[in-house]
């Protein structure tokens, strides 16, 4: 291994780990304790974090730009869409830099295309819901069977004809949502939180190599 490789590896692994540990300890200390210097330090780190996020946004954009350009020049199957995306990316950047992000022209052009397309996409969602409902109501597994029973119960218990003619309906649907439903939801949130913290500890200890392999860990 050459000296340059060793230095590169040191920078990408050990220094990355040190930075992660310092940031984690600082954020954790700020969460549990009050201290003006600590708060100021964390505020500074947040600014740095924002800088890094913006930097990665540029890196991501450049990656997309290069990979799409390559796809267009190689005429892969998706090249017309990628060319369209490239033209739009360039057009929006030029327009934003020229007229300003909050100018009427930019906002009108952005909103009139983005919101219109967004609503068109959301409009399609109902078809996906219907299709998924059809798939669910076929009850191919025990899991979907249980889901269907409770989904039907909730639909019926909240329908006007049942609620107006059967007084316990409200109380039953409330109980289903706020007791077994809430209990299950909290169990998922709780163990997911524990799992997330354990994953973080694994990364800090250098055990979870896969995610950090990108940085040579």
């Amino acid at each position: 291994m050459s000296t340059m490789d060793s230095i590169s590896r040191l920078v990408r692994t050990r220094i990355t780990q040190i930075v992660i540990v310092v940031c984690l300890l600082s954020a954790a200390a700020g969460y549990y304790f009050s201290n003006p210097q600590l708060d100021a330090f964390n505020a500074e780190l947040n600014l740095w974090n924002m800088d890094i996020v913006i930097f990665t946004l540029f890196i991501g954009l450049i990656t997309v730009f290069f990979s799409y350009s390559k796809s267009v020049s190689a005429r892969t199957s998706e090249w017309p869409f990628r060319l369209y995306a490239l033209v739009l990316i360039a057009a929006w950047i030029v327009m934003g830099l020229y007229s300003g992000l909050y100018s009427d022209t930019y906002q009108t052009a952005y909103l009139s295309t983005k919101i219109t397309l967004h609503i068109a996409i959301l409009g399609q969602l109902i078809f996906f819901y219907l299709s998924a409902m059809y798939r669910t109501f076929r009850v191919k597994t025990l899991r979907t069977g249980i889901l269907v029973i409770f989904a039907l119960a909730m639909i019926l218990l909240n329908s006007p004809i049942i609620t107006s003619n059967w007084s316990p309906a409200d109380a039953i649907s409330y109980w289903l949502l706020n007791y077994p439903g809430m209990g299950g939801a909290r169990a998922i949130v709780l163990v997911a939180g524990v799992g997330g913290i354990i994953l973080a500890i694994r990364i800090l200890m250098g055990l979870e190599k896969s995610a950090l392999r990108a940085t040579g860990g």
């Binding site: 009050s34 299709s131 799992g195 997330g196 694994r202 979870e208």
Partner: protein, 267 residues
Amino acid sequence: MILFTPLIEQITPKTGQMFNLAIFIIMGVLVYLSYSFARQGRTWTIRPMEALDAIQEGIGRAAEMGKPVLEFPGISGLSAPATIAGLTMLGEMTERAIKVNVPVNTIPSDTGVVTACESIIRDAYNRAGKPEKYELGKYVKWYGTDQFVYAVGGAGHILAEKPAMVVYLGYFLADVLVTGEAGARVGALQIGGTTDQSAISLMALTCDYILMGEEMYALTAAITGDKYQLATIAASDWIKALLIFLMIAGVLFTAAGLKNVISFMWW
């Protein structure tokens, strides 16, 4: 020391957070303990996970069908633990798939995740001994950062490519229904894992196997079989046992009107 004394004097613990801190420290100690046991030769096993077997089976299925595998790491950025879990799985899955000549494509949402995915896939090709097969932009597709643009782009990709297996691992919301339905329509083997409750139910509608909450975080430990990673999963079980004990104690003492006994929980 003189410099630090005034600083330390100004540090005041936040009310209600000290019990959380104690739990956090206990978690760290338990993880270190399990890691030490593993170093001394103690081995841990993990219960069979259907989704894990399905991923191995899906790679084989893709090899037989000559079709690619697709992974969605979700709509969050690199700061979300769920995204990290998805990326970790991407690396492991890609390495296994390349060995049987199955390409793994991925569709991230965040542009930062795009860069990470490229690095992870390139590294997986290097580890598998096939660096010449990696091409920038060939395996990582990006359709946009907006939730539903991402979903529709992903669905379009699934309908065009017809992958043999689609894996959803990361943070998702209603968007997973769009991609999940597209995957179910092309007959792909679908495995979903997320921590959001609303997305879990949508995954249950469209996926063949689901990983709920922390199962997703345990997946890489299970697939690699690494004894140190498995040791940390054992530690998470100890922590869960501790939390269950505290919850039961909290309920019983509160019900008995002895809230003072457990007042340390609000410390």
